[in-house]
Amino acid sequence: MSLLSLFVLIPLLMLLGLWMAQGMKQIRAVMVTGASLLLGLSFVVLGGYLSERAAGNTAEMLFMADTMWFAPLNIHYAVGVDGISVAMLILSSLIVFTGVFASWKMDPMPKEFFLWFCLLSVGVFGFFISIDLFTMFMFYEVALIPMYLLIGVWGTGKKEYAAMKLTLMLMGGSALLLVGILGIYFHSAPEGGTYTMNILEIAQNQMPIGAQRLFFPLTFVGFGVLGALFPFHTWSPDGHASAPTSVSMLHAGVLMKLGGYGCFRVAIFLMPEAAQELSWIFLLLTGISVVYGAFSACVQTDLKYINAYSSVSHCGLVLFAILMLNQTAMTGAVMQMLSHGLMTALFFALIGMIYGRTHTRDIREMGGLMKIMPFLGVGYVIAGLASLGLPGLSGFVAEMTVFVGSFQHDDTFHRVLTIVATTSIVITAVYILRVVGKLLYGSVVNQNHLALTDATWFERVAVVVLIAAIVAIGVAPLWISNMIGGSLAPVVEQLLK
């Protein structure tokens, strides 16, 4: 039993535990125990990873385990992590952990809710540890489907429409993706060789350029849909707006990262030449995403929509940076994933908590909440500041790495796009401050809100953990940036070949 498989096993055991749990107390006990174990495990893996690296282990992936699964197709259950996956694992476990606290008072059908929630986690964790395309794709889809019911049953507003739209669009993405994966598989070895799904082995073999040209766009768009690539992002605003709190958290925080991670791990790593050739198309699209999302966010009135469009912008930046195809920008991309994951989760958690009290998400109907619920207010301000890239919080580190990295190209096209992307920091400031100003500051709009209470202890746990993580990355980014950057070296090497 490899260490990494525990990431899949623990949520599965949680499923089992939930199945047997009676009453809310037991459900919570199962969830908290499981989530804490996952969190602990991710830090154990982190520690192990860093110490292995410090000890001079230069293997591309660590903690590898490999079991033959479907021999006729040479499909393995293969796991392994590098610095990027470790970062993603930590992000996921943090958000699962806080998500549990954010949905402490789930109602109705808490058991079912958490069952699907755990299934979602299985997919997420499985995806990040997989190094076999098939396993990866399987976990990817495992993570998608629970969304339908989580939104459809426990959501709010136009939940059925949103759930359906989200599911179908993401399935559309995975349809493209599957063709891409099959294409990669059948070009993974020279004629007559044994085809393989193992990413590391495929990378050893140069795919023919013709095939790369065909399958790179498919794979990239396939993952890009989940990464909110313009114009395939429209599932995101509706989906996030309708989803229950912890689902929004997990979805925006982690699931959207699957897209970015996949783009990079599969599309770019395995098809570097096509990536070089075709990156400009997607750079344009992602460049649009970045600015477009930010502008759209400026005029929204629903808190969740604002954040959803902001996610479009920030996730656009992730893909944008990945497509810059150099180590610095890609490091920035991964850090942006981390950072966006944490802060958007924080945002959604806070929005959920505010909504739970005021029963509205329309910023026009709220005001002066800072005075009524200072804890949530301060949390919101911190999340906002992280989002607009305040130094000392994670957003700054990520964005600056992205911008500096993107600027290392010496042609006008990349430069101009980078400058366009940087303008988003101003627009972000505009919409964040607009919300903060309307929502938290000023006088209380609705007198009924005066009777509302501040955060409860479990809500505080969620918020504090997330803020702590955001600050930790923002204050001491070097180790994590080095960890990620080091793991990107093989990718960059591929690109330079």
Binding site: P72, K159, M164, L182, F186
Partner: protein, 473 residues
């Protein structure tokens, strides 16, 4: 003539034995003992299933008329298991007041069709193939019309028999032309003498559409929805999985073995048929309100996916196809099992009737949902794996665009599967179906289906076992 040849047909003999025993029991059993008919039938058939489970060495009997390959054991076992599951699900229906006296006939007719399928699959000659085909389809018409007091059932029977005869007439016409151009009916000899002249190709097309009728490929599928809707639910289940599964397998082996010389042509034809089938069926399915009809269109589109395994023409295709059929069988039977038991209890088959089902019958809803997810190809259910492999098979020969179209269609299909899930889990209902306890036969069969849905994919041993016996062109 060497009569020992008969002994080589172990599976068929065993099946005939079961049929005869059941017939005799039905005829001569006392009314008291007949109460256990269901149990006896299932046990006997279960025994047969066990017997057929073990492959033996490849044989040819009657001068190549009858051919056995280990692959057949797998396919037959799949069909056997499926039939057994249908038998178990049919319990409630068969024990109902109007059907109870005819339950012996049900078994006999069903097993006759199964026997026909056996022969069809083992055939090495067009004659045996034809006899098997007809043996499989004529009793099917009577099964469709089994609920003889129901107008819909009678209509279904009529539509089935007429369509079937029409199709087999065209198919026979094709066979006659093949005979005329090659001078033989033996598969191996025909294969050599197929040169691809226009007459042969026309003959081949006529033959092919007959098979397409059985598999319900668009545009030869039009009977499907009506018959599925009208026939008793358990018959529909049987029709949709067993009949279709066997036909697909036969089609594949014949295409591989007999028409290998005109592979370009039939791949082209299948290419078009797959696209049309999947798309049209999905478009029809999104509007359906009657769940049986809904599953009919779903099964048509599934047939399109199954053809993706045929088109590749290699061993991977065969493995994936057989695996797909197996998974499709457990998933579809899971869904039909739920529909059947609810129809028997409440008479409701419309999608709106299922609103709020999860609140009252959580386990049935879960079974339904898992089955539908499996049909839609969602992991970790087996359907994901089977779909993946079938796409891999098609992609292995470079049919990427076809795969892409098929995959984009899965979005559409996911949409309508989710409609059912939505009805059960999300939609509120004034009058949900009241909670009830289903009988043990149904329960066992549903549990078996769920075991299949969950384990067939994850436990790779099944797929690997199938792949051991697969062969390509």
């Amino acid at each position: 003539m060497d009569y020992t040849n008969f002994l080589l047909m172990r599976d068929e003999l065993s099946l005939v034995a079961v049929m005869v025993l059941l017939l005799l029991y039905d005829l001569f059993g006392s009314a008291r003992s007949l109460r256990h008919f269901q149990l006896v039938a299932c046990l006997l058939f279960g025994l047969h299933t066990l017997i057929c489970l073990f492959p033996h060495r490849p044989v040819e009997a009657f001068g190549g008329m009858y051919i056995y390959k280990p692959m057949l054991t797998i396919v037959k076992s799949i069909l056997n298991v499926g039939t057994l599951l249908v038998f178990m699900q049919a319990h409630t229906w068969l024990e109902s007041e109007r059907t109870v006296i005819r339950r012996g006939e049900f078994y006999f007719l069903t097993l006759s069709t199964l026997l026909g399928m056996y022969f069809m699959m083992s055939a090495g000659n067009f004659l045996l193939f034809f006899i098997g085909l007809e043996t499989a389809s004529i009793p099917m018409a009577t099964l469709a019309a089994f609920d003889k007091y129901k107008r819909k059932s009678a209509e279904a029977g009529a539509k089935y028999i007429l369509s079937a005869v029409f199709a087999s007439a065209l198919s026979l016409y094709g066979i006659s032309l093949i005979y005329g151009t090659t001078g033989t009916l033996y598969f191996d000899d025909v294969a050599v003498r197929i040169t691809g002249n226009p007459l042969q190709i026309m003959a081949f097309v006529f033959f092919l559409v007959g098979m397409c009728f059985k598999i319900s490929i668009v545009p030869f599928h039009l009977w499907t929805a009506d018959v599925y809707e009208g026939a008793p639910t358990n018959v529909t289940a049987y029709l949709s999985v067993i009949s279709k599964g066997s036909a697909v397998f036969v089609l594949m082996t014949i295409l591989y073995k007999v028409f290998g010389n005109i592979v370009m042509q039939w791949q082209g034809i299948l290419y078009g048929l797959v696209i049309v089938t999947i798309t049209v069926a999905n478009l029809f399915a999104i509007r359906q309100k009657n769940l049986k009809r809904f599953l009919a269109f779903s099964s048509i589109s599934q047939a399109g996916y199954i053809l993706l395994g045929v088109i590749s023409g290699n061993a991977l295709g065969m493995t994936s196809l057989v695996f797909y059929v197996l998974v499709y069988m457990v998933s579809n039977l899971g869904a039909f099992g739920v529909i059947s038991v609810i129809e028997q209890r409440t008479g409701k088959v419309m999608m709106d009737d299922y609103n709020g089902l999860y609140k009252t019958n959580p386990y049935l809803s879960l079974v339904m949902m898992f089955s539908l997810f499996s049909l839609a190809g969602i992991p970790p259910f087996a359907g994901f794996f089977s779909k993946f492999f079938i796409f891999a098979a098609a992609a292995s020969e470079g049919y990427y665009i076809l795969v892409l179209i098929a995959l984009l269609n899965t979005i559409l299909s996911l949409y309508y599967y989710l409609l059912v899930v939505k009805a059960m889990f999300i939609n509120p209902s004034e009058q949900p179906i009241a909670p009830f306890r289903s009988d043990n036969y149904t329960r066992v069969s549903l549990v078996a289906c769920m075991a299949g849905v969950f384990l067939l994919g994850i436990l790779s041993v099944v797929y690997q076992q199938i792949s051991l016996f697969s062969f390509g062109m």
